[in-house]
Point group: C2
Chain length 336, copies 2
DNA sequence: GTGAAAGCGCTAACAG
DNA sequence: CTGTTAGCGCTTTCAC
């Protein structure tokens, strides 16, 4: 593997000149630059981040902490992050906390602390106080994507607003018996966002004078399969709501399935709305509140990169946008 | 940030002694080791991978190349990899090729080449010849997970076998009109595995003397939504198969949905089988050929780590195991 | 059992 | 516009 020194020797130049030429630092003759570049290509030169990092203190890498990759939303966010990082020449170091539990002294900290990354992006992860303290020690740009995360600035939709919009859509259509498929994601443990959503649901429903039926508040664990089970159970009972608000599209898919399986029709018998804007929502004709997961990841990445380059670090970010996409899964309640 | 030198100064020892004590190199007095460890903790010492890497040539990191994270199977594999890496003290550098196309000179190579990783694991990705050449230059352990990948050793199920087993299950039940939901994943472009599966399907069906109806060979793009669409279309036509073999569970979910939506029943009217062992398969009562995605990722990680530590590098790996899990989505065809 | 010294590949003043 | 000289923080002979 060629080094900067070999190129220098080959060309009778000094290492510094070669280094500058390679990095495009101004103040080097055009022809010298060309010469160096040519030699570098010819010798298959590849820079060593380790060496560069040692002298500059920069690793050209950012850490991504994620509780699980199997939830569609998270993987979208991660895609958005990695793409943006790549575009700016940064590498992504992935810390998948999958199945670990808060406080179990998850291993990322030690590793993160190895001074491998210049910044950290945390996706929908809740930390124990000591973990947070350890992260704080890093003293590098750090932002969260997803629901509010204690101790971190976050980029994400306003959970109350998005749920309020979804619920209001059902109320506007005239539904007065509305169920919720919520609960929280056992892996991500982002209980804050989840309970924000549940409260917003109740608040919105109650504002119209409608009643929130406790047995219609289902816990779908943010997974399609679990949502299917609980919804199946509900629609096998004698009294069920004409509308179902789901805190995620994946759960909505499970709900749709369960409703069909129960021999009922969407939206004739039951209306269903989701939240997220999942790639399959259109195919399932699912009304949803769409947010841009990739965009949020991309924004987080741009932000930490900017801060790395000296941009100011705001204390908070504007809530991410979302919009209601009305499709065929919601309609006015049929007069029964 | 404390360095090895500061600890040495603090204790009146030399840097080499501290280094050895910290790494547990034999030949250091017990008490010295204890002293050093204590001081390191007290000073919040964190080793610098860059510095260590510079002198040893090792980064304690492995690269993961993946075409997309939004397909469930891939994210499971990645989880398996990262968990294993973490357990062995390695970091994961993620290269998400999402949406890029073969030959578009995807950016991973340059980055990977920055000597940042000690090994590479490629998940279901097909490379252009020049990309492969560039990867070859790296000269580090490299294995693929998923379908066979030209130019790389791979860990994965035998596509023909798993599809053969799924198809045979339908034939064994007595089905003679069988459709396939296959196609290939536009993002991963692992056409090899996909076409292996299609061929195995045809071969198996034809062995019983049954006919493969061209219009029953559907292309679901390995996505639930797309599968739902094509299956819907098929079951709206006048002639449809009593059994549907899906090349992935995600597509099977779409198929199940479409069948219900068409007013037909599973398994009374149509039997459906998937491949993968998706986390939601049980909830949807889906018969499937289950493989251990996480396990395959974990195995790949263990393997490259072993090779990094001097273990021999086999030319090929045994095919990964899978097993048929019969659930309620398949049954004997009803006599019509 | 411990220390001194050299060096990994690069960047960054400081000169010229 | 280019070269010299120090390091960055760690590992690794080679001595003692």
């Amino acid at each position: 593997m060629a080094t900067i020194g070999q190129i220098a020797a080959e060309l009778g130049l000094s290492k510094s000149t070669v280094s500058r030429a390679l990095r495009g630092v101004p103040g080097i003759a055009q022809e010298t630059v060309a010469l160096v570049r040519e030699a570098a290509d010819r010798l298959d030169y590849v820079p060593s981040v380790a060496a560069a990092g040692l002298s500059t203190g920069r690793n050209q890498a950012v850490g991504i902490v994620v509780p699980s990759l199997t939830r569609w939303f998270y993987s979208e966010v991660v895609s958005g992050i990695t793409r943006t990082l790549a575009a700016h020449g940064y590498d992504a170091v992935l810390f998948d906390l999958d199945r670990s539990h808060v406080g179990e002294n998850r291993p990322f900290a030690r590793s993160l602390l190895r001074r491998r990354v210049d910044a950290v992006i945390v996706v929908a992860t809740v930390f124990a106080p000591d973990e947070l303290a350890e992260l704080g020690l890093l003293d590098i740009p750090m932002v969260a994507v997803g629901p509010p995360t204690p101790g971190l600035r976050n980029i994400g939709v306003n959970d109350a607003d998005i749920m309020g919009t979804a619920t209001a859509h059902m109320l506007d259509l005239g539904h007065r018996t509305i169920g919720l498929v919520g609960g929280y994601d056992a892996e991500s443990l982002t209980i804050f966002g989840a309970s924000e959503r549940e409260h917003a649901f109740m608040r919105t429903v109650m504002q119209t004078g409608a009643v929130v039926e406790p047995t219609w508040m289902l816990s779908g664990g943010y997974r399609s399969g679990m949502a299917k089970m609980v919804v199946s159970h509900l629609y096998r009972s004698s009294s069920w709501p004409t509308a179902l608000v789901c805190a995620s599209d994946e759960m909505a898919f499970g709900a749709l399935f369960a409703i069909h399986e129960a021999g009922l029709r969407v939206p004739d018998d039951v209306s269903v709305i989701g939240i997220d804007g999942h790639e399959n929502a259109a195919a399932y004709d699912l009304t949803t509140c769409e947010q841009d997961a990739q965009g949020q990841g991309a924004l987080a990445a741009s932000q930490v990169i900017a801060e790395l380059e000296g941009a100011p670090a705001p204390d908070a970010f504007d809530p991410a946008p979302f919009r209601l996409i009305v499709r065929g899964s919601t309609a006015e309640p049929r007069v029964r």
